[in-house]
Subunit: 209 residues, 2 copies
């Protein structure tokens, strides 16, 4: 065992996971998502095909690099928000926090992902499809804060809005540079917050990257 809490084993695991994620994104960006086989990805990461599937349930998942702890972490944050904060704002903050965190670590990886998603926007949607349980978790957290039953429509809609906001923001972000992804997601969530009934005033500010 180690002085820090991380054993050799854990370090190796984090390393292979990251290597697989990077390999997937790099190769997909280079020659197109479906011209890359899992076999090639595994080879690039110096690992067997079978091991690939020990880390990721699917090629899609590896491309997005789905973090299994993201759901619980966000739910945590939602429940931990101050008493004065509305359920929607609590959710909003947890989404934005997660995203800026994510971008702070894998920025250059996201630039490559952008290339891939420009060609195949459906991949983003597909990636979200494997998140049913995580969404359920978040919806329950929102429900709890809102004092609603878990069967209620509202909490589901809030997290549905969140994932739609994220997806739309990414596709918009992939379109041209000069806007920060975080800002776009924030803007999208604000629109969901205040309602889509009215067309928003057209603002096309030059954003920060």
């Amino acid at each position: 065992m180690n002085q820090s809490g991380e054993s050799l084993r854990d370090r190796k695991k984090r390393h292979t996971r990251a290597a697989l994620e990077r390999a997937t994104v790099r190769l997909a960006a280079e020659r197109g998502y479906d011209h890359v086989t899992v076999e090639e990805i595994a080879a690039e990461a110096d690992v067997s095909v079978r091991t690939f599937f020990n880390y990721f349930a699917s090629k899609d998942e590896a491309l997005i690099g789905a973090d299994p702890e993201a759901g619980p972490r966000m739910a945590e944050r939602i429940l931990a928000a101050g008493d004065g904060v509305s359920p929607f704002d609590a959710y909003r903050s947890s989404v934005l926090a997660e995203i800026t965190d994510e971008l702070n670590h894998g920025r250059e990886l996201w630039l490559l992902r952008k290339e891939v998603l420009m060609q195949r926007p459906d991949l983003l949607m597909r990636a979200f499809a494997n998140n049913a349980e995580a969404e359920q978790l978040l919806a329950n957290a929102v429900a709890q804060r809102a004092g609603l039953s878990e069967s209620d429509l509202y909490p589901r809609l809030v997290v549905g809005a969140g994932s739609a906001a994220f997806r739309c923001a990414v596709t918009r972000w992939a379109l041209d540079d000069g806007v920060a992804l975080g800002d776009l997601v924030g803007e999208a969530l604000d629109l969901f917050g205040t309602g889509l009934a009215h067309v928003p005033p057209h603002d096309d500010k030059g954003g920060t990257s």
Copy 2:
């Protein structure tokens, strides 16, 4: 050719398509989605496996029975709405029209689908993932009505909200009987229209089927 606009060929095509759809839903409801192979579905519909894939691009698609004309039809409706109608309302109406139409035809099929989706909520999401082009079409229609550029965030969000509304409504609908799916979708879209910032007043009316 025929007296009506529909040729023998067209009738046969509609028939096989419907048969495949029905077979998929029936078998999936009966023994679970992934305990049914395409081979079995094709056999049930008295058609070769290869023909199955001439009609549907994937097993998922067959389960939902994705209608390739639904997208264009909805876009049409959006653009055809009266001048006083806001873009959001135009979209909202086109969604509701499409849904009630759909339910009026395949009601009992939807009851079976409900069984399947209760076990595997992710399938609904996955079905929507293959709709990128249709969503683009709708987004463009909304953009046009709103006088916005196609690259704008707002139109995407509107259709994103629509699909989220539908998905949430279906999962909620699958939970208990007594509420009409159309009503749930309408309610969800209203919430998106007026904004999610505030928790809605708790109404749990007993609905009509």
